[in-house]
Assembly symmetry: C2
Homo-oligomer: 352 residues x 2
C-alpha cells in the first residue's frame, strides 16, 4: 500500500475492511453451494440464466452471489455472461487459500468476535466457542468437527512441507544426540530417526504431549532410537540437560511471548557447549517471497490471540535474532527454505 | 477490478477475502481500544514505544495491532514511528464507515456464519443470534443492545439524509392526498405534513407498524392530517384504495423479492389513474457515485439474506424499471439525489 491514495480510494478501502466478514461468508457460500465451481467449469463463461436453470438454487441466491463476487473481482460479468477471474480461481482451487478459508471459517470466525476482549485480558477469549480449555493445546485432540479437520489441515499445510528441506540442512552435520524441544506429536523426531539411522532423538515436551508422541513412536517401532523427557519449559527451574549435539525447535517459539521465548532460549543456553548447535525453524512474516504469505502469517498471529493462548504470535526475523542475542546465542547461518515453504532455519551457536 | 492481475496479485487478493473477518475484528479492536485514535492524535507520527508507555495495554497488544494495521494500509510504519494513513483516517473518523462497521459487528457478524444456510432455506438463518422472530421486522423494537443502536444508526444514515431533497422533488407538484405505502414509523409522513400544510397523508402498513406510527403522529399533533390504513401488501386480495394524487414508496420495495415487488406494484397500479404519480425512492447499487457506496449496498443485500427476511435485496436501477414496466408503469422522470444521499427517485405514471 505504498502509493498515495485519493480520499475516494481510501474510503473504498475502509469499506473493504468494514464489510470483510460479510463478503467472506458470501464467498464461502458461493464455494460451498457449488456456484463458483459451476462457473469455473465453463471456461469461456456461462449465461447467468443457465446457472439458475441447472442448479438447485433460487434465482435470488444466484443473483446475489454473482453480484457479491463481481464487487470482489471474483467473477467478471459482461451482459448476461459470467466467468471466473484469477482471484476466483485461487479462491476455488489454490490449496493455501482453501486451507486458510476453512481455518478462518471453522476455527476462528466465531471466536474472532472476542478479539477486543482477548487483547484486554491476554487470554484467548474466543476459544470458548470450541470448548472449555485454558489454551487450545489442551483441546486439540477433542476439537469439534469441522474445526478439528480444518485446524490440522492448516497446521499440516504450514509445517510438514518444510520437513524434506529441513532434514537436509540439519543433517549436513553429523548429530548423534538431538533434542527435539517442543516435539509435540513426534513427527519431526520420527522423520529424523528415519532420515539418519545413527541419530538418537529426545523429545522434550509437556507430559500430555509426550504421551501422544510415545504412542506414535511405538507404532513406528522407533522406541530404541527416540527417548522422552517430560518438561515444562516455562518453568525455568526445569533444566534442559547437557549433552546434545543439536537442539531443534520447530515452530515452537511462536507459541510463546517474547519473555517466555527468552526463558526457553536461556534454558537451551545453559545446556549448550561450543559444540552444540541450536536450530530454530520459524515462518517469519517479514521474510516471505509473496504478500499473500505475509498476509496469512500476520492473521495467524491474531489466531494465537483469540483462540490459541492469547499471548503468542508470528515474529519478524530480527525480533528473533535480538532474542537469541539477549539469551547468549549468535546466528551463524540463515537458511531460507526453498519451494513451497514459508520457513527460515536459523543455525545458532553460543557466543564466546 | 478491471486490470489484469498477475497470479501473485490474485493470490494476495484471495487471501484478503479469506482473512477478511480476522482483520475486521483486529481493526475494530484497534479502534475500540483507542489505539487508532491515539496514533491519529499525533499527526506527524508517534514512537511505538510511546504508545506502549502511555496506553494501558500490553506491548503484545500494541505490536500485533500495528502489524495488522500495517498489512491493511491503515497505518504506515517507518522504523519505530507509526502514523495513521488515509484508510485509517476513514476507518476512524468517517461516519459512513463507522456506521457500516458497527452494523457489521453488532448486527451481522455472528449471524453471517449462517449465510450458506440462509441461501439454502431462503430464510434469515442468522437472525436467531439476536432473537426468535421470523423476520427482523417483528424484532426491531426488541433487539438486544448494541445491535439495536447500530441497526437504527445504519438505517438512519442511509435514509434520513434523503428527506430534505426528496421533499422538494415530490412537492414540486401539489399533492392533496398522498399514500405513504410502507410508512413504517411515520417519519416520512410527518415530514410531508410539516413540509406542505395542505397535504393529507395516509400511512399504509402492517398493523404492528401502524400502531407505532400512530403514536408518533399523535405526539407531533398531526392526527387530523395523517390517517392510517392497516394492510398486508403481500396479500393481493387487500387492495390499495383509489383516490391518491401520489403514492410514495420509500426504501420499501428493497424489503421484498422480485415476485413480491410485482405484487405490490400491480396493487398500486389498480389504484392509479392517469393523474396519479407513483414515487419510488431507492438506493440502486449500480447508480452510485463512489465504489464505497456500491460496496456497502451489495453488502446490505447480504444483510437482508442472513438477518432480515432471507429473500430481499438492493436492486439495480434497470431491474426496478423492468418490474415497473411489467406492472404497467412507465418512468417519466429519474431524480438522482444530491449531496450525501445514495438514493434515486423514480417518478412514474401508468402506461396508456
Amino acid at each position: 500500500m505504498k502509493k498515495e491514495l485519493s480520499a475516494i480510494e481510501a474510503k473504498f478501502e475502509a469499506q473493504k475492511i468494514a464489510f470483510g466478514p460479510m463478503y467472506f461468508q458470501a464467498m464461502v457460500a458461493m464455494r460451498d453451494l457449488g456456484v463458483l465451481e459451476y462457473i469455473s467449469s465453463h471456461r469461456k463463461g456461462v449465461e447467468i440464466a443457465s446457472i439458475i436453470r441447472d442448479m438447485d438454487l433460487s434465482e435470488y441466491t444466484i443473483t446475489l452471489l454473482i453480484e457479491s463476487a463481481e464487487v470482489l473481482g471474483v467473477v467478471e460479468v459482461e451482459g448476461t455472461i459470467v466467468r471466473i477471474s484469477k482471484i476466483g480461481f485461487f479462491f476455488l482451487k489454490d490449496e493455501m487459500t482453501r486451507v486458510n478459508t476453512n481455518f478462518m471459517n471453522d476455527v476462528c470466525y466465531l471466536g474472532a468476535k472476542e478479539m477486543t476482549e482477548s487483547f484486554k485480558t491476554e487470554k484467548p477469549a474466543g476459544l470458548k466457542v470450541l470448548g472449555d480449555w485454558p489454551t487450545i493445546y489442551q483441546g486439540l485432540s477433542k476439537l469439534p468437527e469441522p474445526a478439528k479437520k480444518s485446524w490440522f489441515e492448516f497446521d499440516h499445510y504450514y509445517s510438514d512441507n518444510a520437513f524434506p528441506e529441513a532434514l537436509k540442512i540439519v543433517f549436513k552435520k553429523k548429530h548423534r544426540n538431538l533434542y527435539d524441544v517442543g516435539g509435540n506429536t513426534g513427527k519431526w523426531s520420527i522423520a529424523c530417526a528415519e532420515f539418519d539411522p545413527q541419530v538418537h532423538v529426545t523429545i522434550h515436551d509437556l507430559p500430555v504431549q509426550v504421551a501422544v508422541a510415545k504412542q506414535n513412536v511405538q507404532e513406528k517401532d522407533l522406541s530404541d532410537r527416540i527417548s522422552f523427557r517430560e518438561i515444562d519449559l516455562l518453568d525455568s527451574a526445569q533444566k534442559i540437560a547437557p549433552g546434545a549435539d543439536a537442539i531443534w525447535m520447530s515452530q515452537f517459539l511462536d507459541c510463546f511471548s517474547k519473555e517466555q521465548i527468552l526463558t526457553i532460549l536461556r534454558n537451551a543456553h545453559q545446556a549448550s557447549t561450543a559444540d552444540t548447535t541450536l536450530y530454530i525453524l520459524e515462518p517469519f512474516f517479514d521474510n516471505q517471497n509473496f504478500p499473500a504469505a505475509q498476509y496469512s502469517l500476520v492473521a495467524t498471529s491474531l489466531y494465537f490471540t483469540i483462540m490459541a493462548n492469547g499471548n503468542s504470535k508470528m515474529y519478524r526475523l530480527n525480533d528473533m535474532k535480538e532474542l537469541l542475542d539477549t539469551a547468549g546465542f549468535e546466528v551463524v547461518e540463515t537458511y531460507p527454505l526453498i519451494g513451497d515453504s514459508y520457513h527460515t532455519i536459523l543455525e545458532c551457536k553460543i557466543k564466546h
